[in-house]
Amino acid sequence: MTHDPTERPVNPEKEAVAGGEGGDTAANGRGFRQRLREVVQAWNRFWFTPADPTPLGLIRICTGLLVLYIHWAYGTDLYELMGPEAWLDLPTMNLFRTEFPYMKQPSSWEEEPLPEPTDPAERKELEEFRARWNRDKRQAIALGQTAWSIWFHVTDPGWMLAVHRAFLGIMVLYTLGVATRITSVLTWLAALSYINRGQTSLFGVDTMMNIALIYTMIGPSGAALSVDRLIGRWWQTYRALRRHEPPPVLRPQPLVSANFAIRLMQVHFCIIYFAAGISKLLGNSWWTGTALWWTLANYEFAPLRYPFYEEALRWLCRHRWLWEITMTGGVLYTLVLEIGFPFLVWTRLRGLMVAAAVLFHTGIAVLMGLKMFGIAMLVLLMSFASPQTVRQFVRTLGRAVPVREWEYSATDRRQLLLASLVHACDVSERIRLRERSARP
């Protein structure tokens, strides 16, 4: 991972200090305005500088594969988790989503209970509500959730299967980047359907998948590495060749919206790490250095069912010093990474922090069994990769193709279309088009 050269250093305070000095009030006022201007400029640079959409395209592909796997796996459990008689059945889910009370907080230090209503009908309604939720309905700010799911409405098994397959089809299109502006929205809405219906079967991977989907939906994730882009390139090449012009250089245009989406993802990732890090500071085991042990020795998550793993833990336990160093080291690594990442990733240490995070999530995937969660975090982490690195990676994929020439006749429409297609697909720029009639 290298730095993005299009990124200007973002340190508004430092820039502001360098910019403003003054001895009198007017100078102070000018200094303040200057600092404010610099802060605004830094903000603008951070959010609104055009950027290459290639990283976002790559994130879309990885998110799409993740989404596809997650929802393909739902297929084995569709009725058990989404059906009307699922573990959390539809009547219970409907009750939660329409009636769950969100209660007011006390607005003073000593709040008097509300008097019982005199109207018998109202009193009966309140009593019934109290029996269901153990709460006074009058103290609720809101009832129910603002959540959408197609599975609240489609409950017939045949239709459920049809809708599930249609969703999988949309997710395939999103992954390929077909009509991405539409399929990204539909994929997100489809994913929300499963999330909101199966609320008791969610875990971290759903959260991370949703974040990746939201930001690839907001940004132009189909502007690179997509079928959309391929067809655009094809059409652009075809028009040029038809006019006997040299084949165009096809590089994705930098877009403000691409940078904006990437920045959203980066900031969100930093918040996730920071929240995860500081919340751990409340726990005894994170202070005593034993937290890592409780994750490694958890039978349901760690690979304890494999004898070699259990034997490895037994061996570690036999060596107290090694055990302590491993556990304390692991805890320190986690805390320093999670709390330090949001600050250090914007500095020259970005490569180091990203590498440390990759190692961290690989460890979580292998030792704690949360493979999909690890993959989802790695997908989000890709937002910190520079466009140059991503483009280089994409070009490297095409290096296996030998450099060669492709001849075509501009008068033959089929040859023209084929040559345009070859040029459009050639992201590694390995094939040179040559118009036959133009040869000496």
Partner: protein, 415 residues
């Protein structure tokens, strides 16, 4: 494929006229609205029209995303569909027919309208608005992070973030599912929670259902559905804090344990009362009832699938981890019985109704106590005792009161 991914690519688009799609969408929305006003049912044709209207409007926006007139027509189309749906959702008998879909359509209309305004105003103003939206967005995420109750906190959670979350951010964060506090493995990495259920049939036979089961690991190569099962059972952990167990409740528990028909079930000698009595929250109780219904309906008798279920005894089982010192012992393994700590969640009928809400053992831990090879000590049944430190004494078995309570052993005949 035929339209640009963004306005910047407009010069390479094959199709540049969004109006046919937009007008088709608008017409479909209008027909759906009229149909909604005139005809009560005909749900399937109406759904088709809704989809046609929304997708066509989406295609129009996709072709030319930065044209205010296009966005305005798309917003109007979505609004027509919203109103068309309102004919059903406003009536109590059909309120849930597509209420959540109506929410999505409403959000689409609002997004298109805001986007329309954003492209109309000068670029600097649009950037200012977007900047404010960014701050609001991350502000909301931070309220979700900071409104989580802290262990033992008084007040339990920060007031201001909670107030902001409740009164301002909740609908937005719930809709986009960005409500997570990201407190992974904190404050402590806890043990896994399992669900064990004993299903009893009319002929008196029974079987145990364990969630998750090892078979869940094989449902997909990466074990995704296994972790979904673990999440299902994790929900049962939502319990009220137990600062103290009232004497009357403890007395009832002890008495019921002494008089239990299949032999006494004492309190666990190594845990305090407040750990042994955990009352689920309302939401957890309803979830438990739903799980019981699901188990009753989807766990046929292995030999006679027609045999009706008469009861489902539910247990929330905490699977404790081994301490490092226990890993050195040959007589303890990660599946040792005493590492499983079951809590009785009640016996349910096939419809998920709790058979005896006043059961004195309800929500109490049913002990599985390791049996140590210790010198004989004076036992005082039904009282918390301080026993000699067993960590160095050999374990020769476990006193399994769960089998006694349930009526059959959970250690055999797993699903």
């Amino acid at each position: 494929m035929i339209a640009p991914a963004s306005a910047a690519d407009e010069d390479i688009a094959l199709v540049t006229n969004p109006w046919p799609a937009l007008l088709l969408g608008l017409s479909a929305g209008a027909v759906a609205f009229v149909l909604g006003a005139v005809v009560g049912a005909w749900y399937l044709p109406k759904v088709g029209l809704f989809l046609l209207a929304l997708v066509s409007a989406g295609v129009g926006v996709w072709i030319r995303p930065r044209a205010p007139e296009i966005l305005a027509v798309a917003a109007l189309t979505a609004l027509l569909v919203y109103w068309a749906m309102d004919f059903e959702t406003s009536r109590p008998e059909t309120a849930l027919l597509w209420d959540s879909a109506q929410l999505v359509v409403g959000v689409m209309a609002a997004v298109a309208a805001v986007a329309c305004l954003l492209v109309l105003v000068p670029r600097a103003a649009a950037r200012a608005v977007v900047s404010v939206l960014v701050l609001l967005h991350f502000g909301g995420i931070l309220t979700a992070v900071f409104s989580v109750p802290t262990p033992g906190g008084d007040p339990p959670a920060a007031w201001l973030p909670n107030e902001l979350w409740l009164r301002f951010y909740r609908p937005y964060l719930q809709f986009v599912y960005l409500n997570n506090a990201y407190h992974f493995y904190s404050p402590e990495p806890g043990p896994a929670t399992l669900l064990w259920a004993r299903v009893e049939y009319t002929d008196g036979s029974s079987r145990w259902i364990k969630v998750p089961s090892p078979a869940d690991l094989d449902k997909d190569p990466l074990g995704q559905q296994y972790y979904r099962r673990l999440a299902l059972t994790e929900t049962l952990n939502s319990t009220y804090p137990t600062p103290v167990v009232p004497d009357a409740i403890r007395h009832q528990r002890v008495t019921a344990g002494q008089q239990f028909p299949r032999g006494p079930i004492p309190l666990h000698p190594y845990f305090s009362d407040t750990i042994q009595y955990k009352v689920p929250t309302e939401i957890a109780r309803r979830t438990i009832a739903s799980y019981a219904r699901h188990i009753a309906r989807h766990s046929p008798h292995p030999h006679d699938p027609e045999l009706p279920v008469v009861g489902v005894k539910m247990y929330r089982v905490v699977h404790n981890m081994m301490r490092p010192a226990e890993f050195l012992r040959p007589d303890v393994d990660p599946l040792a019985k005493f590492l499983f700590v079951p809590y009785y969640l009640g016996e349910f009928d096939a419809d998920g109704n709790l058979k005896d809400p006043n059961d004195p053992l309800l929500y109490w831990m049913i002990p599985i106590v390791p049996r140590y090879s210790l010198p004989p000590t004076e036992l005082r049944p039904f009282q918390v005792q301080v026993l000699p430190d067993p960590r160095k004494a050999p374990i020769v078995g476990a006193d399994d009161y769960l089998t006694r309570h349930a009526g059959s052993s959970p250690w055999e005949g797993d699903r």
